[in-house]
């Protein structure tokens, strides 16, 4: 194909969009509505995922050391733990630090425990983080077998429940987004099909005048892509403005709590690019599948 023919196809595509004003408007609206839903759900899904992993990352294993063990061996023990499978980091926490942490976490009521400082009932401990939070239970079991370990704590039961909840949240989100994308594809390709069905006769005529299938297809290809991309503009603006607002509110009201939302950048630029891509791909797919049907004439 010559460059000037490509140029012709572009001119033709945009001319046709203008001359089929209402149909173009309908297609763009269909893309806009569905991409709006997709982007909102995606933003929610990604945040659920983000918050879930924040919670999961807080999951740790506490391995309390036998009182009879001597402090000089602790280094060796720590290395031993670090060499275990699936272990990411191991941190030593003396019983004094442990008590301070406990008192602090209990707030006012913790004051009562201050008297224990002279007679600390706690043990020295190693705090273990695993590569993946889901490995916690397995690693804890391994650690428990070690001789110098007196007791292992990792929130047995609670951790498993937490993972169940976060996994469920993720799966529901993914199913919702996939469902939406498929709905979007059908809705948009149907609208574009409608615009092309009205041009069935035109395609027939073009073939009679000696146009090849490729020649006929190109402007439709460009038009479908453009309709999809135009349809993505409004959702991008809405999600960018909306997310920024929600982000500000959440950070103001819940800033002190451990939960935080995904930062605006890179989330919004990434979502924007994704919306443009989905719009373009669906537009092209919709127009090409319908043109192909008529090209067989």
């Amino acid at each position: 194909m010559k460059i000037r023919t490509l140029k012709r196809h572009f001119v033709e595509a945009f001319k046709s969009m203008g001359r089929n004003g209402w149909m173009s408007f309908a297609s763009i609206s269909a893309v806009t509505v569905t991409l709006l839903l997709v982007s909102v759900f995606l933003a929610i899904l990604l945040n659920i995922n983000y918050i879930a992993s924040q919670i999961e990352d807080d999951v740790q294993i506490r391995a309390y050391i036998e009182r009879t063990e001597k402090a000089e061996n602790y280094d060796t023990y720590q290395k031993q733990l670090e060499q275990l499978d699936k272990v990411k980091t191991v941190k030593y926490q003396s019983k004094e630090e442990g008590l301070d942490e406990l008192i602090e976490s209990l707030g006012d009521e913790g004051e009562a425990f201050s008297s224990l400082k002279n007679e600390n009932p706690l043990r020295d401990a190693f705090i273990i983080y695993t590569d993946k939070p889901q490995d916690t239970a397995a690693v804890a079991k391994e650690v428990e077998k070690l001789k110098f370990v007196n007791k292992v704590e990792y929130g047995k039961g609670t951790v498993e429940k937490l993972f169940k909840v976060t996994d469920a949240a993720r799966n529901v989100g993914i199913v919702l987004v996939l469902g939406l994308v498929f709905t979007a594809m059908f809705l948009i390709s149907n609208t574009i099909k409608l615009t092309i069905v009205t041009r069935r006769r035109e395609i027939e005529i073009m073939k009679l005048v000696g146009a090849t299938n490729g020649f006929i297809r190109w402007p439709f290809f460009i038009e479908g892509f453009a309709l999809g991309v135009f349809g993505a503009f409004l959702p991008i603006v809405v999600i960018a403005v909306g997310y920024q607002a929600i982000f500000d509110i959440v950070n103001q009201k819940l800033g002190t709590v451990f939960i935080e939302l995904l930062p605006v950048t890179p989330l919004i630029p990434q979502l924007s690019i994704l919306m443009l891509l989905i719009g373009g791909v669906i537009g092209v797919w919709g127009s090409l599948t319908s043109v192909r049907k008529f090209l067989k004439i």
């Binding site: 073939k207 005048v209 020649f215």
Partner: protein, 228 residues
């Protein structure tokens, strides 16, 4: 130029439209194809521009056997012939100018050549001043002139017309015939299926009559020969 050798066409529903057609048309000839409705005229014409593929036999136009042409090659075959229809078959969303230019765009002609040639043929069919209008703003005769302009803009050696005056009033029909005479005078072969008795009897040319899928008459200076 155009040669049909033992052409048969049976449609999938069993209708036998052509039953052994043999015909030879010389370069530069003007040929009417006449016959009652349902006699096979339309199929005869459609086989010429490869809208239909014959069940048997060969159709050789411009040295290409249409019976053996592959699907992909059809556009190339059609670029070497101009086709004109009863219902004009103009692209409704393109202007007069763009409709004619389309036939040159498909062969990737340069914009300069396109402009020159389109204006040249629009001048021939006397529609230069309506180049920017859309088909639905034109009368039937004007629309048919646009479609003629489109069919001849890339100088094809053959023009095939399927009842080009069928939708037009008598006066307009004569204007259209003047254009066909002009095209033919420039050396282009014209094959025209028609029901117009007066035209065939007045502008006397070779007449091929088809009945029951066979050529029943082929006269050099013939007349219409039917009463309708």
């Amino acid at each position: 130029m155009i040669e049909m050798i033992d052409v048969w066409k049976t449609y999938p529903n069993g209708v036998m439209a052509l039953n052994g057609i043999d015909v030879y048309i010389e370069k530069g000839e003007f040929v009417y194809v006449v016959g009652p409705s349902g006699a096979g005229k339309s199929t005869f014409i459609k086989c010429m521009y490869r809208e239909e593929k014959p069940t048997q036999g060969s159709i050789i136009i411009n040295g290409t056997n249409l019976a053996k042409v592959k699907e992909r090659q059809i556009p190339k075959v059609r670029r070497k012939m101009g086709v004109i229809f009863q219902d004009f078959k103009l692209l409704p969303r393109l202007t007069v100018y763009e409709n004619v230019a389309f036939a040159l765009e498909v062969i990737e002609e340069s914009p300069k050549v396109i402009r020159e040639r389109v204006m040249e043929v629009l001048d021939l069919v006397k529609l230069k001043n309506k180049a920017r209008m859309f088909p639905d703003e034109l009368s039937g005769g004007e629309q048919q002139r646009v479609s003629i302009a489109r069919s001849i803009v890339n100088h094809p050696p053959v023009v095939i017309a399927d009842e080009p005056t069928g939708n037009l009033d008598p006066e307009t029909a004569w204007e259209i015939m003047d254009i066909f005479k002009e095209i033919n005078a420039r050396g282009t072969t014209v094959v025209m299926a028609t029901h117009n008795k007066e035209i065939v009897n007045t502008i006397t040319k070779r007449v091929i009559a088809i009945e029951g899928g066979r050529i029943v008459r082929d006269e050099a200076k013939g007349d219409y020969g039917y009463e309708d």
